[in-house]
Amino acid sequence: METSFVLLLLLAPFVGFLSNIFFGKQLGKTGSGVLGTLAVVVSFFVSCYFFSQVSGSKQPINVHLFDWISLGKFSINFDILLDQLSLLWLLFVTGIGSLIHIYSISYMHDDENIHKFFAYLNLFIFFMITLVVGSNLLIMFIGWEGVGLCSYLLIGFWHKNQEYNDAAKKAFIMNRIGDLGFLIGIFIIGYLFNTLDFNVIKQAVLTGSNPEVAGWLSIATLCLFIGASGKSAQIPLYTWLPDAMAGPTPVSALIHAATMVTAGIFMITRLNFLFDLTPDVQNIIAVVGAITSLVAASIGLVQNDIKKVLAYSTVSQLGLMFLALGLGAYEVAVFHVITHAFFKACLFLGSGSVIHALHGEQDMRRMGGLKGAMKVTFLTFLLATLAISGIPPFAGFFSKDEILMVAFHENKVLWVIAAVASIMTAFYMFRLLYLTFFKEFRGTEEQKHHLHESPMLITFPLMVLGVLSVVGGAISLPGNSWLNHYLEPIFAHAPHEAHHLGTTEYMLMAFAVVGALIGIGIAYSKYIKKSEVPAEDSEITGFAKVLYNKYYVDEAYMAVIVKPIYSLSKFLRDYIETGLSQIIFGFGAVADGLALQGKKLQNGNIGFYLFAFVFGLCSVVFYLFFLR
């Protein structure tokens, strides 16, 4: 029974993928979209079923499918683990996934390859489910790489544009760098525990602690973190995510905001019992998270591409989540993941709606004044913006505030960084809102003429997500957290006691809100009061230029890593390869030269031949009878 449901959960999207790939063309545009959506909805309902089961019984469900790989000392099975954590992820992956599928039916309607789009989306959902429900690290790794693949396919969906393809390739390779870390982490864990199964590792960790293990464990968790930072776009591997916005907007919403990029957080939460043992690595995670959040937020301040702003905002928010992870507050990170999924998906879809209305225009300098024409979009966008900026009682406020609180308790410096990042977030999000929806429209006349609210299939998901952005915080209210309670079995150590809501806590809340308001205020004065419009690219100067060019990180990577590899490749190709070849030919050339010389010896002169004969005779005799 459970096995078949699990198979249904897994295979529904996969069947959707297959049928869309093979019969998508015959199904027609809407048909393939509906099929794709249905596949995910089925998974969503199965997830709901399991969720109700598990939250009732509190017993995780384990399903053994088949044996997979055998290694020297242990074997890796294809098992499915449905516990509180994976179900939570399943719910929002399939839930938001369903919404975005619905959205895409309309959004991608004009694309000739829409069936492929849905095929890839289904495949993505399939891999994401695999990632989440795998009961050991290697199955997670299948999903991990699989979602990377789908991300590659979807970023490069418009494959005629080589820049998009570049972005796709970059995403895949950056992810692979992380994946190598992940893989090494897996090796070390396999070596230490002779298993990759989460539950078995957990038992091993909880029962015995071996000092020898600890050193290796730090390396393992560090490697795993590298893996996570690849997938979840942390420093130094974050540069692919902004580029990934080349894909269609629903993809950005689903993969590059709500689900895939949170896989790193999922993995670390999954392995919280390991990370708990390695405080050094936790510190690294916290610092990296904090810095990422600040750097990304600062870049977000000056971006003009609507999706780029959202992308940097995503990186920044992910940084905050990693900060929480690093401080051991896994449940807080999970909480933020969920609320972030709601409001960020809403933001992306909203921006998609705007782009849709403007026929592909993404530059905010060419927007403005859309709130009249696109009421639903504006409203939902506003809700989500408030949520991300941390205004109570929207969802983002609670989650972000908890992170800040944890940071305040653990490390003041990190707290300051996170707080600054939050303020920046509020600023650039409202900058985005103002530039897009307020004031006069700055685009062409023709665009203005065609401005329209998006159809129902687009606005419906927006509304659902908008509502979730408002009420999502309810799952973990300070002091009475359902989420913490629900997730308790997952953690090795009980979650941080829900902070006693004392003066400090209220002070912090107030501080956060004030900070957010300051950010909003600055944005308001700049873009509403003074009606500023960001400068054209060529006019940007000073530090803003550095920010606008993302601290030149891409250029630096290009110059320090990619270019040298290319030159090395050319050098090896042109010189070393030919050189090695020449060495081999050199043997031939030597023999050949000898042959040429030898030909001179063979001069046809019989006198010489006889002389050689006598010489040979004499030397043999001499050697045998005189040298002996």
């Binding site: 023999a591 031949y609 006889l610 004969f613 040979g616 005779l617 043999v620 050697y623 009878f625």
Partner: protein, 455 residues
């Protein structure tokens, strides 16, 4: 014994046939006769006897080698039919000379007395001088004949001097006596100098470095069929005799002597192979290849008690491949002035079977399985390593690598280049000999035991 007599009779019959105007029948008669002699010889296989005061000894060794020589002569005589088509009046001479050459060859391996050895050697050599110079109008043939003659008789003189010295030391030409003398400590230095001179003379005959200079020139200049005779029959006769001499005379062959053989072997292989790299005339190329094969064969001398079988296998493989190759060369270059490799261009297209035969024979010489040349090299190297000469084995290996290059040069010319002339029909005899020889070559490759276990 009866083999020798029968061969002599057959030779006389050839000459008589001319007198009785049976010119057309000469070759069929000879072939039939040789087949009969071959059969007769093979039946003698298990007998061990000596005749005429131990002048002629018949044992497994001599019978095996004699059979091989007869077989080779059979092939060569068959090839003659077409080769001497334009000189019908000389056929009986050429055939008779070949038969007498065979007589000398059989006498050489069957000797029980140095006198017999010397006579056999001279019969063989003189026949070859004649054959080498057998195109009196061709300057090349003249030159080849002259060079071969001068150097050959010089070598004969050296061998004769060696024989005289041995005689001086042993007071007999009988091989048994010599064997005993070689094993006794009292034997004087004369004896060893004599052995040494005979060795050098024989090294000349098998064309080992540095006594090899005649070979390429003579091979190139002599008529192609003569070259075939020299490179197959004459070479292995000399080798077999040399081997037998060593068995008799080097009862306590000392280390220094072995060192000489090792050095000469390495030099022969290396010089032969390297010189062959830059040759454009296929006969000349095969001459150098033959020099390197002589180097390989010399390895057999280092492990005298065990290597008879290996040596026999080696010479069989080598000569069969050589005969097959020469059958193709005769076919291709019959109407040409020389034997440039370019004539082989496109043979694969014009005549796939002949091209395949030549490829197979070259592959066999290069030592590539499943052709018997590989097994031959393997057996010899195996024995050499057993004797402890790793250095020689390595030298042999390196030389095999070098040799691949020039053998494959011909092969790739046959298959990749465009033919520069129209197709021409293959004479039936060439076809038969080529296919038969290479077939035998592959057969002994598949079943090496049938030869290895003979001796």
């Amino acid at each position: 014994m009866s083999t020798i007599i029968a061969i002599a009779v057959l030779g006389v019959v050839c000459l008589l046939a001319e007198i009785f105007n049976l010119r057309k029948a000469i070759i069929p008669i000879t072939v039939a006769g040789l087949l009969a002699i071959l059969g007769m010889t093979v039946t003698e296989f298990n007998t061990t006897e000596s005749y005429y005061n131990n002048m002629i000894v018949v044992n497994r060794f001599t019978v095996a080698f004699s059979s091989l020589f007869i077989l080779l002569t059979l092939f060569l005589v068959t090839l003659s039919h077409h080769f001497y088509k334009n000189r019908p009046s000389k056929v009986s001479d050429f055939i008779a000379i070949k038969i007498f050459l065979l007589l000398g060859a059989v006498a050489m391996v069957s000797f029980g007395n140095l006198a017999m050895f010397f006579l056999g050697l001279e019969i063989l050599s003189i026949s070859l001088y004649i054959l080498a110079g057998s195109k009196p109008l061709s300057l090349k043939s003249n030159e080849a004949g002259m060079k071969y003659f001068l150097m050959g008789s010089f070598a004969s003189g050296v061998i004769l001097f060696g024989i005289a010295l041995i005689y001086g030391a042993v007071a007999s030409f009988d091989m048994n006596m010599i064997y005993e003398a070689s094993n006794s400590a009292a034997t004087g230095d004369w004896f060893y100098i004599g052995v040494c001179m005979i060795t050098v003379g024989m090294l000349f005959k098998i064309a080992a470095v540095p006594f090899h200079f005649w070979a390429p020139d003579v091979y190139e200049g002599a008529p192609a069929l003569t070259t075939a005779t020299m490179s197959t029959l004459a070479k292995v006769v000399a080798m077999a005799t040399f081997f037998k001499l060593n068995m008799a005379m080097n009862g306590n062959m000392n280390f220094a002597y072995e060192t000489v053989i090792v050095i000469i072997s390495i030099f022969s292989m290396t010089v032969g192979n390297i010189m062959a790299l830059r040759q454009n005339n296929i006969k000349r190329m095969l001459a150098f290849s033959g020099i390197s094969h002589a180097g390989f064969m010399l390895m057999a001398l280092l492990n005298l008690s065990n290597t008879t079988g290996s040596l026999f296998y080696y010479v069989t493989a080598y000569t069969l491949a050589g005969i097959a190759a020469f059958a193709v060369i005769l076919y291709v270059c019959n109407d040409k002035d020389d034997e440039s490799i370019t004539f082989f261009n496109g043979l694969g297209k014009n005549n796939p079977v002949m091209a395949a035969v030549l490829s197979a024979s070259l592959l066999s010489m290069a030592g590539i399985p499943i052709f018997s040349g590989f097994f031959a090299k393997f057996f010899i190297l195996n024995q050499t390593l057993q004797a402890g000469y790793l250095i020689l084995v390595i030298a042999g290996i390196i030389n095999s690598i070098i040799s691949v290059y020039y053998y494959f040069k011909v092969i790739s010319a046959m298959y990749t280049k465009e033919p520069n002339e129209a197709k021409k029909p293959v004479p039936f005899e060439y076809y038969v000999v080529a296919v038969l020889a290479i077939g035998l070559n592959i057969a002994i490759g598949l079943f090496p035991s049938c030869l290895m276990d003979l001796l």
